[in-house]
Symmetry: D2
Subunit: 288 residues, 4 copies
């Protein structure tokens, strides 16, 4: 049914067992919440169940607290972790960049036009170059230079800013710095990085040059969660483009920008729409 | 949970209303049937609800009759049309061809190797050319020539064969004949055709030549249900390929074969796996 | 050979006949110009020959006039139309827009970063909305409202601006106005439009809505030269995206923006790099 | 110009220097051979020049010997290696398989229908399973079992058959054996292998399982020349498909078959049409 109301999002995860779908959908029906979209996945390798539901609440008086009070007992029977996201929730996203602006420009465009339902309270960079772009969007821009010696201090400053601006997600939009183990630990599961290769191929530096050396006919990009093993975090989205012998490394760098920004955008969108679930070292993504 | 048992498929359709998901999933849980996969769609334009569930039945004694006896009353409250498909069901598929063999060859390969879980009891053609291929697969081949004068009789013979061989689906695998309105009527909803263009563009004859005349940079193929308006039946699947100025019409014909056969295969697979629902003049396809 | 010098571009077109390649490459070799890239196409349907060469000129003293004086006699023997484009040539491109900014934003980003080697001396719109974006890039923005009554005057103003700013190419970046036959005539061959469908399918208004009605599984965009038959000019580039039953018309509009802007960018890039040739109602595009 | 005659193919390779294109096209024009298609690439990293021309010979009396006698002196000035391929040349291709038949079935279909302009004089396998398929196509099938102990003898038998049947190309169509260094050496540059990953990612055994472990969102296939470093030979073609969390390793194996066979077909077609040139550890491929 078409509704003038925007849907809430319900997400949950629990061990696989008979009745996992039913416990959710029965509660929705009994409480008069109209399910407009449902995705679920029952992973028989990890024996985990994942579900995401969009629903139109029953009446104007819908209350998260009442939902929780009613549903928690049922969830407990299934050891189910669950969450509700209201339609007006806009995650606060801090963006880290260096000099390349194609990902930043793309994210800010989609933020400005509402394609990405987020707030961007702060942009942080180890270079001053992209301040103008931040300024035009009215977003505070912090230039925090970094060197081998100042790395711990700089990372501490970055953490402070993330906390000061209360960011629930950090996006590394071509932030060309190897994070310290401490920083990786800190960002574990709350940061998305874009790597310019089809990970796990061509990890590390200059992946397009590596790809060119190998004479590949396709190059790509990978958006993944940061974890403590750099370039090895759970993959959220990947994109590719075909190339041929006439593409030198610098052509790959140039051509790759379109794939990188679309792949990063997709991952961020999936994340903020609560479509991504961690499943061990892999992800479950209920895409559209 | 991983099971050694193959899943049954439950499909249903009803008007959109609160509780449509719940009525199904609750019954599954209450009857001990383990839901391993679920897709649903609530179309707020047509106000119709569609659902497809794979489930592992409760115990070895699962009975379709008991399921029906129990569930029908619940379904009636929702005006729900529903169906069960057992894991060992192999739809009987009659294939109609002319001289081009790329679609037939592909379907038979996937039938032979089990990628398509079907029986092919009969192949019918207005030309004798593809008899060898049918013979090698051990499938009866009927050569029924057709002319403007003999069209009614030929179509009557085709109908007889479809019934004699008890085919529940007919696939027009590049059958190069314009069906009569009667025949379209007869096949309505039970036949899949492959048209070598991105319908509704380039309807009718020689679509690749039409596409070349227009200088398009992409050509494609469309698999759709036959209905009484030729080349206008509900679309199930489409595929494309890029082309350039150096592709003459005969190149498009040759290159198009790969897209045609994959697109037709996808549509047939979706159909036999009960992933396709009619939704007015459009379809709902729960793909993988 | 790698050169520190940027290549010149030579393009030509003539009737098909023995020696068309030779007359060009022989002159290049004899005059010491190093051919670094060559594309040609001999269309046996239209009996026309097309060639595009990138070459590193012989020495610093390379002169267009000397080239012309030497080569013209050879070209005449083949009725060859030809042109030279120096590496520092930046075509002046006027952009027309309405309210949608995704194509404009993309073109300006690529202009600003040098991915598009152009000048943008003027942006013209029938709405005031996108002035801020133009301002930030330092480009004059003219708001010329239009109504049925004022159409002739408005189009005259547009023409004046195109001429005042000496634009050699006009890009209709989602300019939502039906041009008059006069205006089409004026822009014939010197303007590129983006239409949000896979032309010639879904011509005219609201193509995404038309596509949704037909239940297509793929939608796309077409960049084409403007000619006197609106939505029927020679196609330069097309792009597609897959969609499914869960995409309502408004989803197609939103999702389509990425394909539209990339398709338009590709067409503009091909044009300014002299990769596009008119071949009757079709084009020859020497892509990369 | 349209010709009733089929084109000859001229291919050549030499160091980059002024006049490389001219030396070829001038000879073509002077000898009255009509150039209908030309591709070239001047690699400024390796300083090598590659060219492929299709031409309609001058008159019926065209002679390879006369061409050679005339052209060789010009070629020598450029240290150019060159070759002529007549339109009626059908390379003899030996196919090696194990138990998977999807690549074999595809190659034989395209061979039978003329999409691949080749002869297949022999099929060799370490298993008896695919004899029926070979029989139906009337091709001798040799079952040569292999074990760790008999590997040298089996490989010797394979070599003997390749020579007995005078194969100029060997295709490993999912031949599931690690070749000995000797055998790799023997097949260096004259054999094409299909690996079921996007090399150099996921080298070695069970690449789909490796890919699943890493949670990738795209898997692919790579066709490459065999050289002495297994899974590292020069890449000719790659293909991909998108996957998601619901694809278990066995699904990847099943889905991958379509990409594998198309990728292998493309590579074989490029090779037999003389579109592939070795360029160090990479390739130049003049695709269509």
């Amino acid at each position: 049914m078409k509704s003038t109301k925007k849907p809430w999002i319900f997400t949950a995860k629990c061990p696989s067992i008979l009745g996992t779908v039913d416990v959710v959908t029965r509660y929705m029906a009994e409480s008069g919440n109209y399910v407009s979209e449902i995705h679920s996945f029952d992973d028989y390798e990890s024996d985990q169940f994942f579900i995401r539901i969009e629903f139109i609440p029953n009446g104007d008086a819908f209350s998260e607290d009442v939902f929780a009070a009613d549903f928690q007992a049922r969830a407990d029977e299934f050891n189910m972790e669950w969450a509700l996201t209201p339609p007006d929730h806009k995650p606060r996203v801090a963006i880290l960049v260096s000099k390349y602006d194609h990902c930043l420009n793309d994210l800010l465009y989609r933020y400005r036009t509402g394609q990405l339902n987020i707030e961007v309270p702060v942009i942080i960079s180890n270079h001053p170059d992209l301040k103008d772009l931040a300024d035009w969007h009215g977003i505070p821009y912090y230039h925090l230079p970094i060197s081998a010696e100042t790395k711990p201090q700089q990372e501490a400053q970055v953490k402070e800013l993330i906390e000061k601006y209360d960011a629930e997600l950090v996006v590394l939009a071509r932030y060309m710095q190897v994070l310290s183990p401490d920083m990786c630990q800190y960002l574990d599961g709350k940061a998305i990085n874009i790597h310019h290769s089809l990970l796990p191929g061509f990890k590390g530096a200059r992946p397009y040059h590596q790809a060119w050396e190998k004479g590949v006919k396709m190059v790509g990009a990978t958006a993944h969660y940061v974890n403590n093993d750099l370039d090895e975090g759970p993959i959220i989205a990947q994109g590719i483009q075909t190339v041929d012998h006439a593409h030198y490394p610098e052509d790959l760098v140039a051509k790759g920008q379109d794939v990188e920004r679309v792949t990063l955008f997709n991952a961020v969108k999936y994340h903020v729409e609560k479509r991504v679930f961690l499943n061990g070292s892999r992800t479950v993504v209920f895409g559209r």
